[in-house]
C-alpha cells in the first residue's frame, strides 16, 4: 500500500508541516496586502513565503532560483527521519509546478528565452534530483491547479507498477509579476482575505508554497499510517477557463474514487474552495450529484492562498494531519452558506472518528481530481 512516510510544507505560515498545521487549526491566515511588489501596478492580497524567516531560509546555493531554493529545503526537511535513500535508483523524484521560474522571462531578451535553461520545468526537476544524487530522470507534472494532487496520483501508479519503492513528490510555485497580473486580468483576485464557499465570496488569494510528500510502497502499513487509497481525474470537456455548470469532471472523479466505498467512512472533503463565485458553485453541484453533500466540507485557501502547483500537496498534508488527530478543520473565511446546493461547510474544528478523507482540486483546461486518503 502507498503510505505517506514523510512530509514538509514551507509556506507563508511556516517552515514545517507541524507549524503549518497548528496555524491552520488556529484559523491563522498568511494572506497580507502587498503594494508595488514585483512592479505590479495595483496592490494585491497574497500569502508569500518570507525568505528571511529562520525556518524558510538557509540552504544557500548560488546557482539556484528562489523557487528551487525552497523546493530543495522542503525536500531536505521531508527526508529527515525517513528511512529512504534519495540517491537510490528505486527512488523517483516528481515535480509539480505550474509556472516554475517564469519570472526570468521578464529579464530574458525576446529571442533569448529558448536558450535559457532556467525557464524549463524539466531543468528545475533535474537540478533538484541531482542535488540529492538521484540517478533517474525526474517526472514533471504541469496540469494547472490540479498538478500537486495529480503528481501524488502519478507517484502512486509508479510505485504500484513496481518500478520504484519510494517517491519524493514536490509541489512548488512562487509568485511573480507574470502570475499576479494574469490572475488580475481575469478579475479573479479578492481585495480581502478570501471566503471559500461563503455567500459574499468575491475571488481568490494567491499564495506561495513548497511542499513535499514522501510516498513508500509498504506491504504492511503500521497503525496510524496514512495511505493514498484511490485517485481519479476527469475533464469537464466544457471550457478552458470556466468551471463546468454541471461539475461533470469532478462528479465523475468523485464517483470513481467512491466505487465500493461507503460515505459513512469519510470524515471530510477537503475541497478546492478557491472562493471564486464559479469554482465553489461548481464544487457544490459535483458533490451534490455524487451524493457526498452531507459530508463535512472544508477549504484552506484563506490560510495559504491558492498555492497553484503546490496546493494539492500542501492541502493533502494538512488534511492528513487532521485525520491523524481525529479533527475536521474549520474553514477560515467562511461564515454564510453561499452555493446553490448547500454544503455542510465547517465553521469550527470538531472531533471525528472516521478513517478517510477526500481531497479535490479543479483547474484551467477543465481538469479535476479527487484523491482518497485512509488511515490504517
Amino acid at each position: 500500500m502507498i503510505c505517506i512516510t514523510g512530509d514538509n510544507i514551507i509556506s507563508a505560515l511556516g517552515g514545517t508541516s507541524g507549524e503549518n498545521y497548528r496555524k491552520v487549526e488556529a484559523g491563522i491566515s498568511g494572506v497580507k496586502r502587498y503594494s508595488g511588489l514585483y512592479g505590479v501596478p495595483e496592490p494585491f492580497m497574497a500569502a508569500l513565503i518570507d525568505d528571511e524567516a529562520p525556518d524558510a531560509a538557509g540552504c544557500p546555493d548560488e546557482t539556484c532560483s528562489p523557487l528551487e531554493r525552497v523546493a530543495l529545503l522542503s525536500i531536505r526537511k521531508a527526508l529527515q527521519g525517513v528511512d529512504i535513500d534519495p540517491a537510490h535508483p528505486r527512488t523517483l523524484f516528481i515535480l509539480s509546478s505550474t509556472k516554475g521560474n517564469v519570472e526570468y522571462l521578464d529579464t530574458t531578451p525576446p529571442g533569448g528565452a529558448v536558450a535559457d535553461r532556467r525557464l524549463y520545468l524539466w531543468h528545475t526537476a533535474q537540478y533538484l534530483a541531482k542535488r540529492f544524487g538521484n540517478p533517474n530522470t525526474p517526472v514533471v507534472v504541469s496540469n494547472a491547479c490540479i498538478s500537486g494532487a495529480y503528481a501524488l496520483l502519478v507517484a502512486k501508479r509508479e510505485l504500484e507498477a513496481g518500478r520504484y519503492d519510494s517517491a519524493v513528490v514536490t509541489g512548488v510555485d512562487r509568485l511573480s509579476k507574470f502570475i499576479v497580473s494574469g490572475f488580475q486580468s481575469f478579475k479573479a483576485l479578492s481585495g480581502g482575505i478570501c471566503k471559500p464557499f461563503d455567500a459574499s465570496r468575491d475571488g481568490l488569494n494567491l499564495g506561495e508554497a513548497a511542499a513535499t510528500v514522501i510516498l513508500q510502497n509498504k506491504a504492511k502499513p503500521r497503525n496510524g499510517d496514512i495511505i493514498l487509497a484511490a485517485g481519479a481525474t476527469c475533464n469537464d470537456a466544457n471550457h478552458i477557463s470556466g468551471p463546468s455548470r454541471t461539475g461533470e469532471g469532478l462528479y465523475l472523479s468523485l464517483n470513481r474514487i467512491m466505487r465500493g466505498r461507503r460515505n459513512a467512512d469519510i470524515a471530510f472533503v477537503n475541497a478546492h474552495g478557491t472562493a471564486t463565485l464559479y469554482n465553489d458553485e461548481m464544487e457544490s453541484i459535483a458533490l451534490h450529484r455524487a451524493g457526498l453533500d452531507a459530508i463535512p466540507v472544508n477549504g484552506l485557501k484563506a490560510c495559504f492562498g491558492h498555492t497553484l502547483g503546490a496546493a494539492g500537496i500542501v492541502e493533502s498534508i494538512i488534511s492528513a494531519n487532521a485525520l491523524r488527530n481525529g479533527i475536521v478543520l474549520k474553514t477560515t473565511g467562511y461564515s454564510r452558506q453561499g452555493t446553490s446546493y448547500p454544503l455542510p461547510v465547517t465553521t469550527e474544528n470538531s472531533a471525528v472518528k472516521k478513517n478517510c478523507f477526500i481531497k479535490t482540486l479543479s483547474g484551467f483546461g477543465g481538469c479535476n481530481i479527487a484523491l482518497l486518503f485512509e488511515i490504517v
Binding site: 520545468l121 524539466w122 517526472v139 496540469n143 488580475q184 475533464n235 481538469c367
Partner: protein, 208 residues
C-alpha cells in the same frame, strides 16, 4: 479476458509536413510555423471556429488530434472512457513569452485574460477534450526529450477498467514545431502493440 493495448493510428507533424499512418498528407515551406499551422488547418478542411482563438501549441496538438479523431469519434456522445496524455519540452513557454510582452513595460501594461489562459500546457488537452467530448483523464507532462519508454509507462498506467482508449504523445511548440500523436486502444487481440519499439518505428515511418 486478456486485454492488449494496440496503436490504432498515428499522426506526425514535423518540419512543416504532416504524416498519418505512414503517408505524407501535407507539406509546406512557409517562412514561419504560425503560417504553417494556418495552412494545415485549411488543408484539413476543419470547421472549428475556436481554433482561431487558440495559442500555437494548442493549434498544433489540436490539428494532430483532428487527423486521428475527426470522422473516427462520435461527437454526439460523451466519452468518459477516453484519456488524453501529452508530453512536451517547453510547457507553455511560447504563450508565456507572448503574455510577458503584454506586461513588460509599465507604459504598455495590459495583461490580457485570453492570452493568460494559454500560459498552461495542459490547456491543449482541454481543447481536445472540448472538441471531442472527452471526459476522461487529461494530463500534461514535461521532459527534456520525447522519451517513448516514459510515454508507454505513463499511458499504460492510465488504463484502468474505466479507460478504453487514450490519445497520447508529444506536442512541442517553442524550441520547434513538432507533434507525434498516437491513438491507443484496448482490445482483446494483439496486433500493433503499444511498446516503445513500435512507437519508435512509427516515428521513423512517418518522417520521410
Amino acid at each position: 479476458m486478456t486485454a492488449f493495448l494496440n496503436i490504432q493510428s498515428c499522426c506526425v507533424i514535423r518540419r512543416q509536413s504532416m504524416f498519418k499512418d505512414g503517408k505524407k498528407l501535407f507539406e509546406t515551406q512557409l517562412p514561419d510555423h504560425s503560417a504553417f499551422l494556418s495552412a494545415l488547418y485549411r488543408k484539413m478542411k476543419t470547421d472549428y471556429r475556436k481554433f482561431f482563438k487558440m495559442d500555437r501549441l494548442s493549434k498544433l496538438a489540436f490539428l494532430a488530434s483532428e487527423a486521428l479523431l475527426d470522422g473516427q469519434i462520435d461527437r454526439s456522445l460523451p466519452h468518459p472512457d477516453i484519456a488524453v496524455i501529452l508530453f512536451n519540452r517547453s510547457a507553455s513557454l511560447d504563450a508565456d513569452s507572448i503574455f510577458q510582452q503584454s506586461i513588460r513595460r509599465p507604459d504598455s501594461y495590459y495583461p490580457s485574460p485570453s492570452e493568460f489562459v494559454y500560459t498552461l500546457p495542459n490547456i491543449m488537452t482541454g481543447e481536445i477534450a472540448i472538441r471531442n467530448r472527452i471526459f476522461g483523464e487529461t494530463a500534461c507532462f514535461v521532459g527534456e526529450y520525447f522519451d517513448t519508454v516514459e510515454l508507454c509507462r505513463k499511458v499504460t498506467d492510465v488504463f484502468d477498467d474505466t479507460v478504453q482508449e487514450c490519445l497520447c504523445g508529444w506536442a512541442e511548440y517553442f524550441t520547434d514545431c513538432e507533434a507525434a500523436l498516437f491513438r491507443i486502444v484496448k482490445e482483446t487481440e494483439a496486433h500493433n502493440l503499444f511498446t516503445p519499439a513500435n512507437i519508435q518505428r512509427l516515428m521513423t515511418e512517418n518522417s520521410e
